[in-house]
Amino acid sequence: MTNRLRELRGQHGWSQGDLAERLGVSRQTVNAIETGKYDPSLPLAFTIAALFTLRIEEIFSPNGSGVAASTLAPPRPPNRDFID
């Protein structure tokens, strides 16, 4: 899993220690998430998303491509041919 945590932290001008304090975790945890050595729990991912006022999928990417959800094509509407 890849993430944009370092980039978002940089935008706010926070150190790893600052971010750790805001999240209530250790600096080691922030560092491990940023370097991809550790994937956060779902509650922590929600806390991170809330802190940056973003959706989880805008920060974390499961495909390993590093492509954030905001840059992906929107989901297609359901095919209604069968119904119509």
Binding site: S26, R27, Q28, T29, N31, E34, K37, S41
Partner: protein
Amino acid sequence: MASIGVSCTDAYTPRDSQNLRVFSIWTMAAAVSFATATILIGERIIDRGVLAWSLAGLTLLLSLLAIRSYLIFLRAADELLRRIQLEGLALGFGAGAVFMMSYRLFERLGAPKLDSNDPFIIMAVFWALGQYIGMRRYSGGEGR
């Protein structure tokens, strides 16, 4: 811990440090009580009276309080620290169990008989080793 690329203050939140301090105090108290009881009862300085039973009971009580404080520390711990601790415990327990089972075979082959406390020393050493490995695995990269 600085030698493995992460300091204690980096790995522990203030709450973790506080809980770890409480655990250390109970562990030290239990260890001192155990050592005192072992000497006094083992050397028959105090005989099997109320005092001896009280001392043995006190050691058990302090040990249970140490376990309780560790569980409190573990439940409240930072999630990465909890993972490192659990990996360390798994390695310690596994190494101790394997040692206990396999060394009996070596004893039958002529290896020296070991004291009943030795598996616990193996457990403690591998618990510490597991934590060291965990700290190393999740540390490093760009700091601050």
